[in-house]
């Protein structure tokens, strides 16, 4: 049953969670992906295999990790190894989905989490790549989770921390990145987006409840591909919200940020 009373963080978590099929490997970073993976494990994907960069493989996400090396990233896991093994597992093609955030994104899914402004004299120095570049380079399909506004969705990112499709079709292969890999979905507080097969440019797939296509266009700083038929996102179900609020984040560490 669809719920009515939810905030946009909760919605993004539910949308991201539904993108995680059962019995699949997913590379999970801090924040929303952790909640989405926990939700997926508790609902439709009990055998989802979360992989965390410092070594956790196949943890049981009963409690939410607060850090990517935290105990909950390998609690009751199938293996607890180290960062090189994890990144090499991705290099060998074993990790299907990688979840990422960022401060800026461009039409090709290139991500910036390094600097705003000039690299040498930055206006804002952000944390840097962390594992993002590795995830975006090596997993088969990258799913990006971001707030949606014109400062974030830009024609050209200030710095390509993590490669998307770079400058378009064939670009990833041309620079040596694994064949057939790349951005797959973008989950925002307004919409679910994908990438056009041919042009590799970002494409609207579905708008969230109460959001119009026009809202999405206005909050995007580049030209979006708008297909003839745009779906409507299913709102969170009562069950999703209950599990999220009562079992996954009862202290409201993340979902209270609305």
């Amino acid at each position: 049953m669809a719920a009515r009373n939810y905030n946009l963080t909760e919605l993004m978590i539910c949308v991201a969670s539904r993108l995680m099929p059962d019995s699949t490997t997913v590379f999970i970073g801090t924040g929303i992906p952790m909640l989405a993976a926990a939700l997926a494990q508790k609902l439709h994907a009990p055998n989802l295999i979360p992989i965390f960069e410092f070594g956790g493989i196949g943890a049981t996400l009963e409690e939410l990790p607060l850090a990517v090396g935290e105990y909950n990233t390998f609690r009751k896991a199938l293996a607890a190894s180290g960062i090189c093994d994890i990144m090499e597992t991705a290099t060998r093609g074993f990790i299907e989905y990688g979840f990422l955030g960022g401060a800026q994104i461009d039409p090709y899914g290139n991500l910036n989490s390094t600097v705003i402004g000039d690299y040498r004299r930055p206006k804002v120095r952000l944390p840097g790549s962390g594992g993002a570049n590795d995830v975006g380079s090596l997993c088969w399909r990258t799913i990006i989770i971001m707030r949606h506004d014109r400062r974030r969705f830009v024609e050209k990112v200030d710095f390509i921390t993590t490669p998307g499709y770079l400058w378009g079709p064939g670009a990833r292969e041309a620079v040596g990145l694994p064949k057939g890999s790349g951005p797959y979905r973008v989950v925002t507080n307004l919409a679910l987006l994908g990438f056009d097969e041919e042009t590799k440019r970002m494409k609207l797939l579905a708008t969230h409840p109460g959001i119009t296509v026009q809202d999405v266009i206005e909050n995007t700083g580049f030209e979006l591909i708008i297909p003839d038929k745009v779906e409507q996102t299913e709102p969170p179900t009562e069950e999703e919200l209950r599990v999220l609020r009562e079992e996954i984040d009862p202290r409201g560490l993340y979902i209270s940020k609305g």
């Binding site: 960069e53 607890a80 944390p127």
Partner: protein, 327 residues
């Protein structure tokens, strides 16, 4: 033979170029005898960390991280440090204390609590120079190259990105397949700090749970300081030699540091101290706040023992209770 050409070169700098032959000579003279290396954190830091050193710490500042050793570095005011950077609390404290000069960065931030204000202030003011940018994988692989004793390592990360352009990696065509790969230079640091679950007096060290990049960093450092929750007799090490991740001959000093990762956690031992982590995230937003935090938790105590007393045993006991045990 032209198939092995260099296609692209990053414009970032290296703090130290990889000198594998000098590293071999260094390692040769490290003692192979089983000598007692147990010492206080004061002695370990003052003997083995010097101004200007290139320093690395293992795992993130809230998880199995050498926080007690980091605080001692700050108390001793070791300065002009260069750091290989993936870090949360530990590198943030060093930055806030004004002890860092240069950084080869991959990520410095507060994870769930967002960007690091200390990093922003340090870099945006020009006080700290970011000499190059890398991915987490890249930094770990660079340690791995050093651990393998070779000057570089091929990987498939970083390609096509500005991260590569801001690094010191080189892209070449593989002479066997023609495909492009990134070559990363080995990263040998002057001194590394690693916190473990148990070690003997000689430095044989064992870790529970994920091993992060302890294996690689321990082998990529000229000097290595181990802090351990527990000092065990060598017989226990010899009973489970397959648990030894760091053999003694890599180690220069062993420090007994129960709750050495506090306010971070230690799996199967104690949980995170969320209030203090949040206290840092909040107070470090201003320079004054950061200074006050350092005064309260670092400068005003003489050593780790006094730090623990300040935190309070009752509180620490609760953190211990919160952690799942398996032994």
């Amino acid at each position: 033979m032209l198939e092995f050409e260099i296609v692209e070169e990053g414009q970032g700098k290296l703090i130290q170029p990889p000198d594998i032959e000098a590293f071999r000579e260094w390692n040769r003279q490290k003692p192979k005898a089983l000598v007692d290396k147990l010492m206080t954190e004061q002695e370990a830091i003052s003997r083995f960390v010097h101004d200007g050193d290139y320093l690395a710490t293992e795992l993130y500042g809230t998880v199995r991280c050498p926080m007690s050793l980091t605080r001692e570095i700050i108390r001793q005011g070791k300065k002009d440090l260069r750091i290989a950077g993936q870090g949360v609390l530990e590198l943030d404290l060093l930055l806030a204390a004004g002890l860092v000069k240069q950084v080869e960065i991959t990520y410095i931030g507060l994870e769930v609590y967002g960007v690091s204000s200390a990093l922003r202030r340090a870099v945006e003011s020009g006080q700290v120079e970011v000499v190059s940018d890398w991915s987490n994988g890249a930094i770990a692989w660079r340690f791995k190259a050093a651990a393998m004793g070779v000057p570089f390592i091929p990987v498939r990360s970083m390609l096509g990105s500005d991260t590569l352009k801001s690094s010191a990696a080189k892209v070449v065509k593989c002479p066997f397949t023609g495909q492009k790969v990134a070559l990363l230079p080995a990263l040998i640091v002057d001194v590394a700090l690693i916190h473990v679950h148990r070690a003997d007096r000689y430095g044989n060290a064992q870790i529970e749970g994920i091993s992060g990049f302890a294996f690689e960093l321990a082998r990529a450092a000229k000097r290595l300081i181990i802090s351990a929750e527990e000092i065990v007799p060598t017989e226990e090490i010899r009973r489970y030699p397959d648990r030894t991740i760091i053999p003694y001959f890599l180690v220069d000093a062993v420090v007994h540091a129960p709750f050495g990762s506090h306010p971070g956690e230690m799996c199967y031992c104690y949980a995170r101290d969320e209030d203090i982590i949040r206290e840092w995230a909040e107070s470090s937003q201003t320079e004054e706040g950061a200074k006050a935090f350092l005064e309260k938790y670092v400068y005003s105590v003489r050593n780790h023992q006094e730090y623990l007393e300040k935190i309070g045993w009752e509180r620490l006991e609760k953190l211990r209770e919160k952690a799942e045990k398996r032994r």
